[in-house]
Amino acid sequence: MSASIDPWWRGAVNIALEPDNSVSVEEAFVQTTALGNGLTVKAGRFLSDIGYLNSQHAHTWDFIDAPLAYQAMLGGQFADDGLQLRWLAPTDQFIELGIEVGRGRSFPAPTLRATASAPRRSHCTPAATSATATAGAPACRISSAKASEQALTQLDANDFVVDSLFNGRSNVTILDAVWKWAPDGNATRTNFKLQGEWLRSSRSGTLAYDTAGANLLGDYAQVSTGWYLQAVYQFMPRWRVGLRTEQLDGGAVSYVGLTLFDANGYQPRKNTLMVDFSASEFSRLRLQYARDQARMGFTDNQWQLQYQMSLGAHGAHSF
């Protein structure tokens, strides 16, 4: 639900009905429309502008689930209660700078509590094409987020859940690029979209590790990376096929010389194939097959069928 409030503000609310019969507020924010000079301020609960997929609602994604890297480093999708300031440069090239400050409601993935996060991002369009060109506009962006004072839950090398208090900085940096193409720029009949993101998550600080009599406190540092690349082709009106390939690298963990959290060097990977049919702008049926090798030594073959129906007023989608 999204509407203008008055000549200076617009607002949007997204309420989600959860499978356990609870209701949650996904997004509820107000946004300025009349500051001018390329400035926009957003306040409330909103999806962070970090990365490309994160700020888009899950129902507009081309695959049913979020990429592995998003699940591992952003908890699927990162939304926070806070303030966002964006500034668009007065140039013909699209250059945007943004900063967000939030209370750290859910950042990043396995976090129970984080007190501060401040993602920032900048956009760049290496070759923004004009409206007269036949190709779509490629876009790339770098964004990063930071958080401190987090309680973490994670698995140790023996797959036991470890409750521990991490005090320090978490940093997620995302590099994303998207390229869209349609014959003569007319995406109505056929079109093609190539998109990819590379995520790097790092943590450094101290970790209090308290389990079964072992009460440890020491310096902790971890770096992990992940990427996905996906292509979606609408080969005839209403029908699209898509392929996504992705991989994670658990990277290295250093913790007071102990091997408790040492990764075994396994790199989770997954390949996903989807086909979908949209009877109209407002309804879509999707079949997805994934070959998931996220668990070492196991290969999961996943078939998923999804239907999406949009009822009532629905806002336009961003690029």
Binding site: S4, P7, R10, Q31, T33, A34, L35, G36, N37, G38, L39, T40, R86, W87, L88, P90, T91, D92, Q93, F94, I95, H123, T125, A128, T129, S130, A131, T132, G136, A137, A139, K180, D184, G185, N186, A187, T188, S280, E281, F282, G315, A316, H317, S318, F319
Partner: protein, 195 residues
């Protein structure tokens, strides 16, 4: 006499240029090529026109891509069809532009459909009828008489937005355009009868 007129025009242009340094021309973003061409006709050298779509694209289904957002950010005037034709992408473009001048209700937001009588305005709208235009048929370009009405309204808007010195120039350009347009319509009517 001819020379004298030319001199006056040059003087007006020069004083306008001095009054508004840097980007003297009014920056116009047109949603469709028809309106881009019309603004160019009416504004001449006093406008700098960019067009968001090509004639080969379906203006219902454009994406608010970064290059368009950058153009919307810098525009002084947005000239679109309105009546929900651009509803799939223009709201996003306006939202992301951070440009107060071209928001709905501002003088910098011109919707051509507001100035003509729209056909097929539904009394009841339901999605079961497909994707219906609730504000009436936005395809107003198909009637040349509408173009003449829009040209008058657009000239007024250009005058409202721009420095006073240039108004005489604009008025003469509009008179010139309207004359040519009436002649063209008369020609099309003749051709329609004979064909």
């Amino acid at each position: 006499m001819k020379n004298h007129n030319l001199f006056a025009t040059l003087l007006i242009a020069a004083s306008g240029w001095l009054a508004a340094p840097a980007h003297a021309a009014l920056r116009v973003l047109a949603c469709e090529p028809e309106w881009g061409a019309l603004v160019q006709e009416l504004g001449g050298a006093l406008v700098e026109v960019s067009v968001a779509t090509t004639a080969l694209q379906d203006p219902h289904q454009i994406q608010a891509k970064p290059s368009l957002i950058a153009k919307a950010r810098n525009a002084d005037l947005l000239v679109c069809t309105g009546a929900e034709l651009e509803v799939g992408w223009l709201p996003v473009l306006l939202q992301q532009s951070g440009n107060a001048k071209i928001q709905p209700g501002q003088p910098g937001n011109f919707a051509a459909a507001d100035f003509v009588r729209k056909l097929d305005v539904p009394t009841q709208v339901d999605r079961s009828q497909g994707d219906v235009h609730a504000a009436g048929n936005p395809h107003i370009q198909t009637d040349p008489r509408n173009i003449a009405l829009v040209a008058t309204a657009l000239t007024e808007r250009l005058q409202q937005l721009d420095a006073e010195q240039r108004q005489r120039v604009r008025r003469s350009r509009e008179t010139d355009f309207q004359q040519r347009w009436q002649q063209a319509m008369a020609r099309w009517t003749r051709q329609g009868r004979s064909g």
